[in-house]
Amino acid sequence: MNTDYQYIVGHLQTALATDPRVNLLDVKIMVTNDKVHLTGDVLSENKKRSVEEVVSELYPHLEIRNELTTIEVGRPRGPEVISD
């Protein structure tokens, strides 16, 4: 494994946390064989695209596998009773 990959992961995590298009702290990033694998949950398709945009701007030579999942927000369930 190329040990530089861990620094790339660190730089990408910082970029995704601080770039105002994204501000995500919990994207899972794995870099192997010049490919970036992105997994985790995002709240919109727009956000998913923005993550990819930020990654490609920072490391244009890396291939991106964007496997982020967009969260489907469901209706509330019945109440939980908290008695004591």
Partner: protein, 264 residues
Amino acid sequence: MIRVGAIADVHFSKNSAGRLADHWQEMHNSVDVFVLAGDLTTHGDPEEAAVLARELQVVQVPIIAILGNHDYDSNKEAQIRRELESVGVMVLECESITLPINGKTLGISGTIGFGGGFAGACASAFGEPEMKAFINHTKDLSAKLHAELEGLHSDYRIALVHYAPVKDTVVGERLEIYPFLGSYLLAEAIDSAGADLVIHGHAHHGTEKGVTSRGIPVRNVALPLLGRSYAIYTLDKFKDEIPVTKEEIVSAEMENPDLVEAVA
């Protein structure tokens, strides 16, 4: 009985309009009060808060909110607060509010809280000034939360925080980031002052249900965790209480005809 709707980590952005209004507009049929446990915006931009504020206008019950770490990111938390307050949202930071609901009173004390970790693996106010400042900030907010809760004399009390007060509700997150997700100091303050329920967010991949050392229920209502637009918790510790006023008897008759008949 008081029905509490709760959600956290909605992370509104400038293009989030319409994302949750459809879910929230009928909320008054199932809850009496709606609480938002922080991370209301993505970048802490007041324009994002304005989008959320417009979305919240469909809600027909009192709305209580605290801010989260994302809401502080642009150093415009005061403007975010004003945006929310402009549509009637009551925003708490080391503050409390008491609401009369269904013949009882509900007190809510709120603070964002902060990190440091949980018993057995937590940071201490030791070493460099930066480390001391980190933990002392959590201590300070925990002490203020304690004072706020102790000052409440309501029938029910809720502690509303953004960071997690117990480890139970962050389980599912990576162990390495636990100290950034919450602090036992918050739970210690809540246990010492007492509360009926603790609501928090922040840990997107955590666990919904937990409990403090003294048995106070803790609920993590982060939207990415719940996968729904809000959770509903019913506070009902007075369900066996015998009604004493005419209004309470009428209210009890509607809720439990058998109980009133037995008393009569």
